[in-house]
């Protein structure tokens, strides 16, 4: 049936110009919505965020309702991970620990993303002496191992204010250089593209060129590193709390639970494995999310 085929061809040809051209970010969103791993990590994160927001919905017992008579009790009905040395329900405490860990991870990622993003973008965009100064500062902070710098800062704050904000600040002060480096190189790449020449040719101001052209085009790597950092900083928080210089009671955090359970791990593994499981699953969810976001933004890896 030749008529039918040609008719279909006409329809398609006619339809083509009407179809909206898909932008980069729309394509990214489409790739995201097609990835099963995206839904898996999103589902895990929804559960974790739900725990952080309303822990009492998930916990089976009050985490502060401890019974010394049942110290290190085995797992059983109503107490999936058993009880810790103080006789507190490990599962409930792990659920309540989500708030501190997630909160710190998100806050530090955003802060370091903002600071590193601004420093890196300024260095990459303005170049010259601005770049020289900012890059040297970035290198200096990059050379100080994050964990060492943060733990020195935390001792500096001492017991006086070792709360959530202290941990956030200590991690942020030493966590931004990596973001700055990545942002700088992606901004420099975007700056050299032809569209910048075109923008300058039509009389676009430098500031407008930065906001309208450079930022959207160099956002990809920044977004990837900030997403991946979520899991990294949650781990760092737990390490700091595990060393005993991070969050302190009555705040419940996974690292601190691991710190407390460490000494009795050989006789009672669950008080340590419980929070470790929550920690691992959360970090896994963020890593998967970071992967999926990277693949969606940079599809060359797929081909």
């Amino acid at each position: 049936m030749p008529e039918l085929a040609s008719a279909a061809g006409v329809v398609e040809r006619r339809g083509a110009p009407q179809r909206k051209r898909r932008g980069h970010w729309q394509a990214v969103r489409r790739r995201l919505s097609r990835s099963p791993l995206f839904y898996l990590s999103a589902a895990l994160l929804v559960v974790m965020v739900g725990m952080a927001a309303a822990p009492s919905l998930f916990a089976m017992a009050d985490p502060y309702d401890c019974d010394l008579g049942r110290t290190l009790a085995d797992a059983g009905a109503g107490q999936w991970f058993g009880r810790d040395l103080q006789g507190c329900d490990v599962f409930s405490r792990s659920v309540y620990g989500a708030r501190a860990s997630l909160g710190i991870g998100i806050a530090v990622s955003l802060l370091t993303g903002l600071l590193g993003g601004v420093v890196g973008a300024a260095a990459g965009y303005f170049g010259g002496w601005v770049d020289a100064v900012l890059s040297r500062i970035t290198e200096i902070f990059l050379a100080i191992p994050l964990l060492l710098g943060a733990s020195v800062l935390l001792t500096l704050f001492g017991t006086s204010g070792s709360g959530t904000w202290t941990v956030i600040i200590a991690l942020s002060v030493h966590g931004w250089p990596q973001v700055a480096r990545i942002t700088r190189s992606s901004v420099m790449e975007a700056k050299q593209q032809d569209y910048m020449l075109a923008a300058a040719a039509v009389g676009c101001s430098r500031l407008r060129a930065l906001v309208r052209h450079v930022v959207p085009n160099s956002l990809g790597p920044w977004l990837v590193v900030v997403t991946t950092n979520l899991g990294v900083f949650i781990t760092y928080e737990s390490i700091i709390s595990m060393l005993g210089i991070g969050l302190r009671p009555p705040t419940i955090s996974w690292g601190q639970m691991i710190h407390d359970a460490q000494a009795r791990f050989l006789e009672a593994p669950w008080p340590l494995l419980g929070p470790a499981l929550f920690l691992s699953v959360t970090v896994l969810a963020f890593i998967l999310l970071g992967d999926v976001v990277r693949d969606a933004i940079d599809p060359r890896i797929h081909s």
């Binding site: 964990l147 899991g231 060393l243 920690l279």
Partner: protein
Amino acid sequence: MSRYIMSRVLQAVLVLVGATFVIFVITFALPGDPVQALAGERAADPAFAEAIRARYHLDEPLLQQYVRFLAGALHGDLGQTYSGQDVAQMLGERIWVSAQLAAFALAFQIVIGVGAGVLSALRRNGVADTGVRIFTLAGLSIPFFVTAFVLQLVVGVKFGWLPVAGTEDGFLSYIMPGFVLGSLSTAYVARLTRGQLAESLREDYVRMATAKGLTRVRVVAHHALRNSLIPVVTFLGLEVGALLSGAVITESIFNIPGMGQAMARAVYLGERTTVVGVVTVFVFVYVVANLLVDLLYAVLDPRIRYA
């Protein structure tokens, strides 16, 4: 080439001075009076306090103290702890312990990481690839201190294959902590190798090498892998910082008398000279490692020539 090296060395010196200065300023602001801490419960005798302050130059302005520290460090003198121990000497004894641990960790990262990466890149989406991906994901998400506790329990206590902690058993006692410290980045190395090698295998020069009749092994090892390793080497250089950070925890968990343990103790006790000393050594190692990585580029990628 020599001009490039000169500018890189100068840059490294700048980073070294800047980073030690940052740490110096931070530790200077540490709370608590070291003189009072020495005196214990009683109020310190003013004459004694003055003598101590003069001995440790605590009465000088911050900048002068820093310059004095730098001058000393150039001669290998990192000062004394408040209990009179020579910091450089103490760290000198510990640095070899840490170096051994780091060498084990690095070896695990390179052998397991690169090996797994190559394996999964060559058999993309096969059984080996899937297995490697699951293991790397697990390695990335399980915090390494948890790995340490579990290994201690299973391998150390239950089966008794390896010593649980300490360094009395020489070579054997470094295997478990080395693996734990290395596991921090092995997964990254594997992923990076896999991604880079998979990309290189599609390059024209690989097709060219295959076309001219080279064996598969030679194509992969000599042409594809060599070019894929550049980002891996960069990563390992940058990762030296994480390795040193990780040593603080690993050495604490496994009771290994290295620099990390000294650092953890010094931070806990507010022992400034030791903290500054350890960070100085760490930053030095980091800066030198990255300098070497930059120079290695030219060896790995013949297209890169430093004018």
